[in-house]
């Protein structure tokens, strides 16, 4: 199916709700005194977008809801600019949830409340619109615009703490790296356009499939495009901005960047590289082959190993928990890439599942960082000393759950996610990658346990301050911690969801 602009509006409800809410917030900001009402409005916007996304497609059934209303399931929107398919809906759900949690966190964050909240919530929603379109875009121009929308709003959000010099520095670094990498990326896109004569992924796919293209040309174009995508997913060597930006940004924004914009980078990358530049292998179940002789999986294999290794090694020596989690999130981008290089649906499914578990445990870890920072104003490891013994038992236990989950220890969600990734790698006999991955898991365990040791095994010295957990944040903490445990014990429906979401509309 291929819908024109006006017809497409019916299928853009999630994005339209977000945009409308954002505009409403900017307007209401002028008259409303109690700014947390704006946050509440933003929460309703996210919830609306979530429901509208579910309205496109029931997450746990095999039915397109809109089919009953419009007789239409998946296909092109806006004259072949974006696609609605299972894959896109999966990410829409994930982003709506990420935005919801971010805004909930922001409402309980002391940092955020000191600034212009109206702008802040509006920008988060605008950024979420960008994320939605990153997952749906099937046209190079649309993809670039969506990515830039996310980037521009993220720069502003990172620099939101106007009186904090670190925040400004972080935003500037982020902006410069982002500008350069997106310039390189659009140059690469111009090569692809030159090859295919079209910005359309489908035409691009037809060109690399049937046309006589020089492998090296395609390869160079891919490398250039990877600069932009690698920047979004914090893959080495485009990761340099991440530790500074993550450390300087307000904590909810850091959480949002590490979960939302990273997942969107993966979504865009998968859509470009799989249905865009590869073809489903004939016969065997769920395999893909790269086209035109441009062996990007080899390149990604190297990037993947470098990303996880560098992220983990750099995290070892960190004294600031936020920065440590920034490096850990780089390492996790590396783990997630393991599913990308194996060229089959099992790998992609593992990636999607991992992004869900990563969403839970990483947001959770940042939430605890925020709770501690709210009470004590500290983000350094020493500020966590004896956390469990000075009133912060619940956050400390929750943090232990999130960190052990990040480390991949059963029975927690992170283990199941890693299990599927490693299973996909071992199944395709990438033994070197598996070995590097396992070695990294071991390294990572050390620095996660270091935080846990500080919280539980060390006794407080008395100067750390008391950590209190209010009900607002406690609610979110349980909302993230309980699924982290439950998904480690029973995850069949969620893996079924991930499995079904690895289905692309190929036109």
């Amino acid at each position: 199916m291929d819908l024109g602009n006006l017809q497409s509006i019916a299928f853009s409800a999630p994005e339209l709700i977000l945009i409308a809410t954002a505009i409403l917030i900017f307007l209401a900001d002028l008259v409303v005194r109690q700014k947390e009402q704006l946050g509440a409005l933003a929460l309703f916007g996210c919830a609306g977008a979530l429901i509208a996304s579910i309205g496109l497609r029931m997450p746990f059934s095999d039915r397109w809801l809109v089919q009953g209303l419009f007789g239409w399931g998946e296909g092109w929107l806006y004259s072949r600019m974006v696609i609605v398919d299972d894959f896109a809906v999966f990410f829409k759900l994930l982003f709506a949830l990420a935005a919801f949690v971010t805004i909930w966190m922001s409402l309980g964050s002391r940092e955020v409340q000191d600034g212009d909240e109206g702008e802040y919530y509006g920008l988060v929603l605008a950024s979420t619109v960008g994320l939605f379109y990153m997952a749906s875009a099937a046209n190079l121009l649309m993809a670039y615009l969506a990515l830039e929308l996310v980037s521009l709003t993220s720069y502003v959000l990172t620099g939101y703490l106007r009186r904090n010099r670190r925040s400004g520095e972080a935003a500037l670094k982020y902006l410069i790296y982002g500008g350069v990498s997106s310039a390189v990326m659009i140059y690469g896109m111009s090569w692809l356009y030159g090859l295919a004569g079209s910005l359309d992924y489908q035409k691009l796919n037809a060109t690399v499939l049937h046309g006589h293209v020089e492998p090296l040309t395609v390869f160079v174009a891919i490398v250039l495009v990877l600069a932009g995508l690698g920047f979004k997913i914090t893959a080495v060597p485009f990761h340099m901005w991440a530790p500074d930006a993550y450390q300087g940004a307000p904590i909810p924004v850091t959480a949002f960047l590490s979960v939302g914009s990273k997942a969107a980078g993966f979504a865009m990358m998968i859509r470009l590289f799989y249905p865009g530049l590869s073809a489903p292998a004939v016969g065997d179940g769920g395999g893909w082959t790269f086209l035109a002789g441009a062996d990007w999986p080899q390149l990604m294999l190297v990037l993947c190993m470098a990303t996880m290794t560098l992220g983990n090694l750099a995290a070892l020596g960190q004294e600031n928990v936020k920065r440590l989690l920034a490096y850990s999130s780089i390492a996790h981008a590396g783990y997630t890439l393991m599913g990308f290089v194996v060229l089959n649906d099992a790998g992609l499914r593992a990636m999607l599942f991992y992004l869900i578990t990563y969403y839970l445990m990483n947001l959770g870890a940042f939430l605890v960082v925020m709770v501690v920072a709210n009470s004590t104003g500290r983000e350094d490891l020493d500020g966590y000393r004896g956390l469990a013994w000075r009133g912060g038992a619940v956050p400390a236990v929750a943090m232990a759950i999130f960190l052990f989950s990040l480390a991949g220890i059963p029975p927690l969600a992170g283990f199941v996610g890693k299990f599927y990734l490693f299973a996909a790698v071992v199944e395709q006999r990438y033994y070197l990658l598996a070995a590097v991955g396992f070695a990294n898991t071991l390294v990572a365990l050390y620095y996660y346990v270091r935080i846990i040791r500080t919280m539980f095994l060390d006794q407080p010295r008395g100067d750390e301050g008391v950590v209190a957990l209010d009900t607002h944040n406690a609610f979110l903490l349980y909302f993230l911690a309980i699924p982290t445990i439950v998904l480690g014990i029973y995850w069949a429906p969620v893996i079924a969801l991930a499995d079904r979401s690895v289905r692309f509309f190929l036109g």
Binding site: F422, A423, E427, Y446, F456, D458
Partner: protein, 498 residues
């Protein structure tokens, strides 16, 4: 009693949940609830001991339900002669350890909740028959152990806890790789151990050897085999008494149990090829090395820790012999070492609670102050030495008899090392309990009733198994002979049994 194993495994977890729900200032109540939570498992264990069918090689009391159907992962538990001894040992030691933990006064709620979680993890490892489930339980047991050593341990607890954690986790990672390779090598893919045991020939010998080595290292860290043993003295010494008992009594057995269940059962041909170097030679080395290290110790707890390394060597040597006596002796030794070393650690705890140090040379003539305590210590020491009439004598003799038939040279070395064992134990006895009384400790109180309750059941078992080993041998014999035949048949298809 269809779900007896599931009940046994998860009742402690239920207890942990109840403990967490109790108000944290009611220490006595928490301790009582924790004890009550371990008792049903013990009672079910006794029932299992009586009802277990000793004549079949099949897995009994099987519970099998699909868990994650899309990946063919099952919740699959059952016991055979090998695992039932370990289940019984765990069920027996846990209530005793709860009793021995009565002195804990810091973070009481957390301690007992973690302890009960640990019990679930340990029982789960021994009953799991799905490799994925086995792995999950194997790791579940790690987390509480880390905190139990790290929070309630001695002076160097943080170092000991992280070392234990990293060592074991490194092993787990190797196990995970091997598990995935086995899974994808079976058609249709499965984690079901009973199915994997029947499909032994799908890999070429080189892959089988690699898989075997990966699994062996994972388990060897737990046993612990030289050179993977260095976590043990640290962990055992720093852990609180009850946790040392669990570490030495149950956790070490997981290593040898894993080798018997997985390496022997799933990779019999590779077992036949590699057992000589990996099990017999390293096992004998363990015996001698552990004994020599024990001789050099000045800390009583460290001495007991090294004696564990030495005694686990007999298990490995017996397993590697592929004779009925050897393999029976090995599993009997696993059980006996569990009870004896538990006694030893409990006894160390008794003196440490009174004198607040464990320096062997810092005592003297304790026999005149604490005669009952000395009696129990003598019993435990003699049992550890393998004195006839006590349980370890039977198992060590069986091991040596079995091993002699295949490795006379190694067996000679192993048998001679008993002299070293006698040496360090008797010398310690002499320095601490005999000789002139150290006046500083002239008023040490005698062992009290609670401590006696923890020791007497173990002492009774040591005595009974010394004269009637068939109580355990009958349980294990059928399954072990069957396993032995599997390995021999595997050897026939692979390279010749060395």
């Amino acid at each position: 009693m269809d779900h007896v194993l599931t009940l046994m495994t998860f009742l402690p977890l239920l207890g942990a949940a109840i403990v967490l729900a109790l108000p944290s200032q009611h220490h006595a109540l928490i301790k009582q609830v924790a004890l009550a939570a371990t008792l049903p498992t013990l009672l079910l264990g006794v029932w299992l001991f009586v009802a277990f069918d000793r004549g079949t090689t099949d897995f009994q009391y099987v519970d099998k339900v699909p868990w994650i159907a899309s990946y063919n992962i099952q919740y699959f538990v059952g016991v055979d002669g090998i695992s039932i001894t370990m289940v019984l040992l765990t069920a027996l030691l846990c209530p005793l350890c709860v009793l021995a933990s009565c002195g804990i006064d810091k973070g009481v709620k957390g301690y007992f909740a973690l302890f009960l979680l640990l019990e679930t993890g340990m029982l789960g490892v021994f009953v799991a028959l799905d490799f994925f489930l086995f792995y999950v339980f194997w790791e579940v047991m790690l987390l509480p152990m880390y905190f139990l050593i790290g929070i309630w341990g001695g002076a160097r607890r943080e170092y000991a806890a992280i070392k234990f954690f990293l060592y074991t986790f490194a092993g787990s990672v190797l196990m995970l790789i091997a598990m995935l390779v086995l899974y994808f090598g079976s058609e249709p893919h499965t984690f079901d151990m009973t199915v994997l045991m029947q499909r032994t020939g799908v890999f070429d010998m080189r892959t089988q050897h690699l898989l075997w080595m990966a699994l062996f290292v994972a388990f060897a860290i737990k046993i612990p085999v030289f050179p993977f043993h260095t976590w043990l003295p640290d962990a055992h010494v720093e852990a609180p008494t009850a946790i040392s008992v669990i570490l030495a009594g149950v956790l070490l057995k997981m290593g040898t149990y894993g080798i018997l269940r997985i390496n022997y059962g799933i990779l019999p041909a590779a077992t036949a090829d590699l057992a000589f170097w990996a099990l017999a030679v390293l096992g004998t080395f363990n015996i001698v090395y552990g004994a020599l290290c024990a001789l050099a110790q000045t800390d009583l707890k460290k001495l007991v820790a090294y004696s564990s390394i030495s005694h686990m060597g007999y298990v490995m040597l017996g397993m590697a012999a592929f004779t009925p006596q050897g393999i029976n002796g090995a599993v009997l030794q696993m059980f006996n070492h569990g009870t004896i070393t538990a006694m030893l650690f409990l006894l160390v705890g008794v003196i440490y609670d009174r004198a607040h140090h464990r320096n062997i040379d810092g005592f003297g003539g304790l026999a005149s102050v604490m005669p009952v305590y000395t009696g129990f210590t003598a019993l435990a020491f003699f049992a550890a030495m393998g004195l006839p009439g006590l349980s370890a004598f039977i198992s060590e003799v069986l091991v040596l008899l079995g091993a002699w038939q295949r490795y006379p040279g190694l067996t000679t070395v192993a048998a001679s090392a008993i002299v070293l064992t006698a040496g360090y134990l008797l010398w310690t006895m002499q320095r601490m309990w005999l000789g002139p009384l150290n006046a500083q400790y002239a008023h040490l109180p005698e062992i009290d009733a609670r401590e006696l309750v923890t020791l007497v059941p173990l002492a009774v078992i040591v005595l009974v198994l010394g004269v009637y080993p068939h109580a355990v041998l009958d349980l294990i014999n059928t399954s072990l002979l069957h396993l032995n035949e599997i390995v021999k048949a595997g050897a026939a298809t692979g390279v010749a049994l060395r």
